[in-house]
């Protein structure tokens, strides 16, 4: 069955209010300004080289779940950017609503389709460009816009206030000292080997992850610190809402925290999109050719701790387990081998999903889609039944996913499709199964 975006229109307070303020003339003026100022050779090349072969269709989890050609990556471009270019930006407010719905909620910017395009077209780039236009037009889903607002006001994505961050760390330190009396969560330690940064849901909802990381780092005898200032949150939803200016401000705060602390590198918690923001996008918007401070994802960091013998496993986590490959650190950074080496070192009975590694299907939460909130929850769950099938086929009861958004997306799928699978971070398992010397 083939549908159109009009058939699946969803009401969202941000989108409705946004298009109510628009006229075709205002839309055209804004679009032309964005195209002129930011639409360079890359966009033109992609648009002009696409031969409409449709090989990208089977790369997309939305298409594979619905088997509806209108979900194919090329169809998403056809329904948005090609129309925008064809009409030189003179399109209706309702059309902009459709563009926003496609770009923000039906594409995870996972870049799987780029691997299947014989010409290497990065559809995620084009969808990001559509999002940028929608942002400039003020047509963004309510909840991701709220997240971008939080970034602008607090430099973190969850409205965590300056004191709440420090208070949470002090509280976690107290909790952990019941288990390891000499444990510290070092704050503002100049010259530490690394700054550990997390995403805002950790102090807000998943404080056990900070606890576990602190325990692992203390057990390994590492010289580390966290900043006590804004800049501690490495996430960046403004990158996904299309607000590049706030995206840059958030990255500036993050890197400047690390530079102020004179650390050798930044180690990031188990998050995928944050890595993309820091390693690939935000740094370059700020003019840096590469990141100004080396950035290490937890996968690499745990790999190093295990291989150097700084942490040792007292036992292996009982399998069978499977591995979910987060797009932004696998396709974006190539950590698939290290992820597997870590999982095999800490777990028994690893069962691979098929396809996997750089061909793995997205969790359908990333790219800011889960941050678009409740109105679009069903879209991402139904739009990823292929992932549910993939998980179910493994027959495992545990899935390891080293990314917060992946946990969010997979959790919903597991619940909806009754898969009975428990999700784990690498840190969960390492903390649970490692040797704990001196711990009470």
């Amino acid at each position: 069955m083939t549908t159109t975006i009009a058939d699946r229109r969803i009401e969202d307070a941000g989108l409705e209010a946004g298009i109510a303020r628009l006229t075709p003339e205002k839309i055209q003026k804004t679009i032309l300004a964005v195209l002129e100022g930011e639409g360079g050779a890359r966009l033109k090349t992609y648009v002009e080289t696409c031969v409409r072969c449709g090989m990208c269709a089977k790369a997309c989890h939305y298409y594979m779940s619905h088997k509806d050609p209108s979900y194919a990556p090329v169809a998403k471009v056809r329904q948005t950017m090609w129309e925008i270019l064809k009409h030189k930006g003179l399109v209706s407010p309702e059309f902009i609503h459709q563009c926003a719905q496609i770009a923000y909620t039906e594409c995870n910017l996972c870049r799987r389709c780029m691997h299947y395009c014989p010409l290497g077209i990065d559809t995620a780039y084009i969808m990001s460009f559509v999002r940028r236009i929608c942002h400039k037009l003020g047509v963004t889903p309510q909840y991701i816009q709220d997240t971008a607002h939080s970034h602008s006001a607090t430099m973190n994505q969850m409205w965590v206030k300056d004191d709440e961050w420090i208070d949470t760390l002090k509280w976690q330190e107290d909790e952990a000292r019941d288990e390891m009396p000499e444990l510290r969560i070092p704050l503002e330690v100049e010259g530490a080997d690394f700054m550990y940064s997390v995403i805002a849901p950790e102090p807000k909802f998943r404080t056990q992850l900070i606890y576990q990381a602190a325990f692992i780092f203390n057990q390994a005898g590492l010289n580390w610190t966290m900043p006590a200032t804004p800049g501690w949150d490495n996430s960046n939803m403004a990158m996904f809402s299309g607000d590049m200016e706030i995206m840059g401000r958030v990255e500036m705060a993050h890197f400047e925290a690390a530079q102020r602390l004179r650390v050798k590198r930044i180690v990031m918690g188990e998050c995928g999109h944050a890595f993309r923001a820091i390693y690939d996008v935000g740094n370059r918007w700020l003019g840096w050719g590469m990141h100004p401070v080396p950035v290490v994802h937890s996968i690499e960091f745990f790999w190093d701790l295990l291989n150097s013998g700084k942490i040792r496993m007292a036992k292996k986590y009982p399998g069978p387990v499977t591995i979910h490959d987060p797009c932004n650190v696998i396709r974006g950074r190539g950590l698939m081998d290290k992820l597997r080496e870590v999982v095999h070192a800490i777990c028994d009975g690893v069962v691979e999903m098929t396809p996997n590694r750089e061909h793995n299907y997205c969790c359908c939460a990333g790219g800011g889609v889960i941050n678009c909130g409740p109105p679009f929850k069903n879209v991402r769950i139904v739009g990823n039944s292929v992932k549910a099938d993939q998980l179910k086929a493994t027959g495992v009861k545990t899935c390891i996913a080293p990314c917060h958004n992946c946990h969010g997306g997979l959790e919903d799928i597991i619940h909806k499709y009754g898969l009975g699978i428990e999700l784990k971070f690498l840190g969960d398992i390492i903390y649970e199964c490692m040797e704990k010397k001196g711990a009470s």
Partner: protein, 422 residues
């Protein structure tokens, strides 16, 4: 850090404390030590066991101990502050004496330039503001960020939320719920965002970067916004002579420097941030990228020729004759840049150049092969340390105070400039 003539400037090395981790009270551990500006004291938070903490100065504990103590900082005038908690309430303790009033949370202790005024950020009953020498702002706010104290300590400021907002209420947010509070009192005007307030010494005028909409960045001074709108902007600075406010701004993808009448540096840079004036205002320097990935320093809009992947820690001497910064590649291979020249040394880490206000000479703390050392005008002092603190020039500029821990011993060295020969 302004050196005092009364400090011991007799050239030579002296061990101030044989064991930098020592504390006369029974303790479980001591934390990262801080050195007093004159080098005569070394202070560290000590865990006394049973969840109690105190501060040890030259191994002698404060008389008081606390549920928590952290953020140990010496003020420029040599007073020692710590953020402390007792009975679940937080305050600032200075030289062992806690401020009378305590708060649901206190953090981020900060000082006036001479250290005469000590301020901190506070939260009481879910309301946010600052406390200055123990006296909290009369008006607190739903939230506050970007806390600042004026160089002379006469005023404090922060970006504050002045209107409440429901969960995910993006319409209210975009109407503008933020302002800047000066000594607690907010401007009449509200904006979508307020960032990086700057306070003019003596007049108390305050400037901040603002966002009037999601797309319209500008600068407001005492609540009055510039007419011009920019695509983005970083924090403003006051011209110390004529009070003009300038800020790095972005237009059509390029950055320049603007005042209320428009650009004073043409938007020719891929990046431009951290502007800084000399004391007379004749020199304005900023970190700039002349093209993608090529950073340097621009002085009065003219960029230096040497570019690097990263440039940080810009410093301008009071007379404007010396401008210094540090450069790095992948957070290593640190170089020191002075007036456009590049020192020959390459270091694993650098900690920000220090300019002698009298002579314009530049000293810096660096790290190489795991050891901390000091370099002056490109020449190293022979002493190395495991942990070190920033160098401080004597008032006449003839000597440099070096402070550091080698092994267990905490030492202060008064090094004549001529001792830097390496």
């Amino acid at each position: 850090m302004q050196a005092d003539q009364a400090w011991d400037w007799e050239p030579g090395a002296r061990t101030v404390l044989e064991d930098a981790t020592a504390c006369a009270a029974p303790h479980e551990w001591t934390e990262e030590p801080e050195s007093s500006p004159d080098g005569e004291r070394l202070a560290a938070v000590a865990n006394l066991g049973d969840g109690r903490f105190t501060v040890c100065v030259n191994a002698e504990p404060w008389e008081t101990d606390f549920e928590k103590a952290w953020y140990l900082r010496f003020s420029p005038d040599g007073r020692l502050s710590a953020v402390t908690m007792e009975d679940g309430m937080w305050t600032v303790s200075v030289d062992g004496e806690s401020w009378e009033e305590s708060f649901d949370f206190a953090w981020g202790t900060t000082f006036s330039a001479d250290g005469g005024v000590i301020a901190a950020c506070i939260q009481s009953d879910g309301r946010y503001g600052m406390v200055v020498d123990g006296a909290p702002w009369e008006t607190l706010h739903d939230n506050a960020n970007h806390f600042r104290i004026a160089a002379d300590g006469a005023h404090t400021a922060a970006a504050v939320q002045v209107k409440s907002m429901g969960q995910a209420d993006i319409e209210t947010f975009q109407k503008g719920i933020f302002s800047v509070a000066v000594d607690g009192e907010p401007w009449d005007a509200t904006f979508v965002n307020c960032f990086d307030p700057a306070i003019e010494v003596k007049t108390g005028r305050v400037a901040a970067t603002i966002r009037r909409s999601l797309y319209d960045y500008s600068v407001a001074v005492d609540g009055k916004a510039w007419e011009a709108a920019y695509d983005c902007a970083w924090g403003p600075v006051f011209h110390p002579g004529n009070g003009q406010v300038l800020a790095p701004v972005r237009k059509k993808g390029l950055w320049g420097m603007a005042g209320d009448a428009g650009f004073v540096w043409n938007p020719a840079f891929v990046q431009c941030h951290h502007p800084q004036f000399s004391a007379d205002g004749a020199t304005l320097a900023a970190i700039v990228a002349t093209s993608f990935g090529k950073f340097t320093v621009a002085v009065n809009a003219a960029p230096w020729s040497a570019t690097f992947p990263v440039v940080t820690d810009l410093r301008v001497s009071p007379d404007g004759k010396t401008v210094a910064a540090q450069a790095s590649t992948d957070n290593t291979a640190f170089r020191v840049l002075v007036n456009g020249s590049v020192w020959p040394g390459v270091y694993d880490m650098a900690y920000g150049p220090v300019i002698c206000p009298t002579t314009g000479q530049v000293a810096i703390r660096v790290e190489k092969d795991g050891k901390k050392a000091f370099v002056l005008d490109g020449k190293a002092h022979p002493a190395t340390f495991d942990r070190a603190y920033d160098p401080i020039f004597s008032p006449d500029g003839a000597k440099v105070l070096l402070r550091g821990i080698s092994g267990k011993a905490y030492k202060r060295i008064v090094a004549p400039v001529s001792a830097f020969t390496g």
